[in-house]
Symmetry: D2
Subunit: 343 residues, 4 copies
């Protein structure tokens, strides 16, 4: 059994990690931490777990003493890198779910995150844990950077086109829509029920941090510089991201060719489902799936790709477990045979 | 024109007062206050008003200098009574939308609100502004206590039965459900979108402050002591209260007799609509209406009354304007011919 | 492995049975039927199952030929009893999820359902499958009547009080609120998004069929005639029932005594969670749990009990599987270790 | 007073026309029709109107006899054109809210709507009633084609750019999101609450009829052929359309220049609000407003324009009344001083 611990278990990602790890046949959840609520039983924070997980939250420093094989860092950026720094020589492996180690260089990080990086040399060295696209370095990794939710949905949607060199890498429009869990558990004016319910808006216009993460990830796939126009919106739903992506082919193509391309590209990806109809959030709710629909518009020549994920699962906790599975030599589906909850 | 001002315009009740007063043919809105956001234009707080109300928020103390005829206090309890104290001899009239002057005595107030009253002698002297039930003292009132949202919906539902002496005054069950605006504009764990959406729960079990307000109001109607079992719940909707009330008749009755009783009791109440079907929140949304449905269950003998209001209008701002209309000798419908927004 | 089949798999209950049975370690799902959509793959009706269940829907008559050990009838009432009639001598067992065999006599059935029963002698002979209350006859049963959603939530809430003789059996008010899946999959004016969203209403006032089912079930628990005032409401949520029940004790009691009573009564019930706070729908979403909170109001003397279930799981498909487990000698939790999906 | 009638008052557009016309100071609503529900009082269909509009629905043929000055056709396409044909010589004016007369030629109509036009010569002759863009022909018009909801939001968003020749007319991406009222009042699998709630999806991919309407409208503004990539999505909200549009400038520009352009272009448009923040649906709910935010991305060079309308008001009934105002020489704001209902 892999001994796993979660650092920062009070947020949505933390609780989702607990939900998944509790059902993982090869994992024992040995500890969960929270600085602010240490000493309280987990159900005091997430009452749905009463009877399922009665672990007590502890301070992060106590976790190491429990002898974990792996720690999941479900922390805000900035906070996360300080733990990685402290635990550089620790005897356990790490999946970092923050944005601190996803980018290619400390300078890019500092430009988009507006903060100094405390481990500049490590940035760019940490494998990016989007297994469908970059699987090779995961088995040996001591630390893996778990991708952001939007980059997961977007990169999976566009990767086949860019890997094939089929579309212009500098003419990509990504119109993304996310459920409210993406905004985090912390109450704010922006997450008040009455602000979200029966409402809809864009946010983070032109400068959302996931933009550069998408560009770097797809750039590695394409082998060239990629530029995306990325616009996130906030949906009155709990979970889920739907990405509508627009690309321009560099030569003639058609729907059948695109279907074939995607089917081959994802032939070995157990969590990608190619759908005949445009995907819906509820079809992937609670699961590690990414549903993708690709279409060619003969009228305009453009390619449209729509993808749907559960931002808390494939966009965070589920993908983190998938990475763990690969780091520990398990089948990547271990513990992730989650069925959609619909309706 | 009546010169009106709003003290505390940053909450939902404040913004709803602005919405209604802007359309009132006999009112000029001369000032709006906020201690925390003084100096900002109103649309900086409530962006929907851009182009409709570009007043700047000021400190409350500046309001008096504007020479209002009436001030609406849209403040939390405790804060409100301190303004009333300061303005005891002010030359303008007041509608207080807080709970500070609704109850019959300072001791009752202190028992349910857990705080000392600063004007104990005034408590119990201020007319209770539920015009359908107690209209006489409003025209001469300098200050009126605007009822709570639950008490409005509940008292209007049950008053005809109690006025007639038709039901046991100590065997009343009131199961109430409210939209989230009732919880106020302030972000909290309890108003986070993900806590409310696709969810439902009771709160304030056994000890909600509106319990005693309902009992006192209905007690005056009944001419005897009234006891209610009151249970509020939180709905995943923005606006609206639905009350389901259960009463026991003291003698035989039937549906027809009840219809007649309600029709006569509310013959002169322009905002009460007696409905043949159970009421729905959306039929009263944005309006000062109270929709009521009454039924007799021949199987159990009980009487059921269901009522629906918009908690921000008939349950707060609209009723406050109705009270103002009556205080100033206007028709009580002035400025309140609001149609439901449905769907 | 138990060979299971589902008759009528196109509704919400059918799809939920598939979701649960696919994860059941002791079950093989061998067939699913639909008269109207026979010949189509299951994901054509419930697209979320693509990749999880690619069975083809067949006509019900073909199911028997597959040699099932058990058939779940997820059919409307009236339709269901005709299958039971046809399959009276079939070599498989049946869990009927309709209302056709839940009541004590054909005459009661005909009075509340307004239709003739085709197997009048069987009505009243079929065990009622609410295992927490009536477990004894299940192991030997050839056919089990799966309880309704409201009766499940209500009976579990009130049973300890009635078993103990603690409350008046003829003074019970049950104010219930259900998610929209309770109204079925069929599109209608009443289930149109705009009718439900941001709205709330009561329905089936005074005459909902579950009333008599609750009264009979609790009557068996109490050993005397029980009468409830039952009022269902429709919530703008997908799943979940919350029941708020009001009872009158026949002698002095208090909160501690009630906690003790409930804890003892449900000591061996793995799906009942006694909660310190009022229950919420999302804490049980996707699970077979029933969360219960009991309180005594010293002011009024009344007892309040609140319960929450997922109407599609504990209120339908999950309970059906729990019944199957008991019918086949499995632990009643087999295949039902479902964690809540929250948020 | 203008005598107005509504043909087809049972849908959402019909009820919204009633809501607006009841409050119009220069209009008397003399008749409302429905073929399927003639003989019933209006509140039997739209219960919110009880006490506000107790007109009885009649057959359309009876409307003409009432001597209206104007008829609003709130009918499905195909049905609408047959009324226009019957009423070619009628003594009243017409605002047609269907798609039957919005396009430039019968052949285009037939290509996108898949049906023969019964008045091919009239198609292309009827003024298109988007007053902010094409106002001149409205005062003299006998019949006006009221724009579609998506075209209204999209064309207002992009018109200044195309009028100025600032952007490539063949490189426009329009990602649009609509509330469920856009799908009409008729119950269907696609409008069932559980399909929409907590869900999100695209629909009508590549072939939505509003595509060509947008292209033609913007083509007239641009004076050249325009091609848009238009993708509609379905939001779990009742009302509102949010459009996110992406354009490529043909020469250098910046945010300030764009603000100036839009401010000048819409200087005389009372219903267009240029917003500093991305618009939100609730800021325009219940109103005839179109909120627009324009931005330039210096990183990618693209221009982004976001617009928000209430699809039932500015996207249908409100704009129809605005057109009526202009047809009858009234100020275009007459009867349309509607404040947003928020929250």
């Amino acid at each position: 059994m892999i001994k796993a611990a979660i650092i920062g278990a009070t947020g949505f990602t933390g609780s989702e990690l607990v939900r998944i790890l509790l059902g993982h046949p090869d994992v024992e959840l040995i500890g969960i931490s929270s600085e602010s609520r240490a000493g309280e039983p987990f159900p005091a924070v997430h009452p749905q777990f009463e009877g399922f997980c009665d672990l007590t939250l502890v301070k992060a420093e106590e976790i190491a003493a429990l002898g974990p094989d792996i720690c999941f860092l479900a922390l805000p950026h900035r906070v996360s890198m300080s733990y990685v720094k402290d635990w550089q020589d620790a005897p356990f492996r790490i999946v970092d779910l923050s944005g601190d180690f996803r980018l290619g260089s400390a300078s890019t990080y500092e430009a988009w995150y507006g903060t100094k990086h405390v481990l500049p040399d490590l940035v760019g060295e940490v494998p990016y844990g989007l297994p469908e696209l970059e699987r090779d370095r995961l088995p040996d990794a001591r630390i893996v950077a778990n991708p952001g939710c939007y980059p997961t949905a977007t990169s999976l949607a566009l990767a086949p086109l860019l890997a094939e060199g089929l579309v212009k890498p500098d003419d990509l429009v990504v119109d993304a829509k996310s459920g409210t869990t993406g905004a985090g558990v912390k109450p704010s004016e922006g997450t008040h029920f009455t602000r979200i319910n029966d409402n809809f808006r864009a946010y983070g216009l032109l400068r959302h941090r996931h933009t550069v993460e998408i560009e770097e990830c797809l750039g590695r796939v394409a082998g060239t510089t990629v530029q995306v126009q990325f616009t996130p919106h906030l949906l009155p739903v709990d979970r889920g991201i739907l990405v509508t992506a627009y690309a321009r082919p560099v030569h003639e193509t058609n729907g059948d060719a695109l279907q074939r391309l995607y089917r081959e590209f994802y032939a070995d990806a157990p969590f990608v489902r190619l759908r005949e109809a445009p995907p819906e959030l509820k079809d992937v709710r609670g699961t590690n799936l990414c549903d993708i629909h690709v279409a060619h518009d003969p009228r305009t020549g453009r390619i449209l790709v729509l993808s749907a994920i559960d931002n808390l699962v494939k966009g965070a906790a589920g993908q983190a477990v998938q990475n763990m599975d690969l780091m520990f030599g398990l089948p990547e589906t271990a513990g992730l045979d989650l069925l959609p909850l619909r309706p």
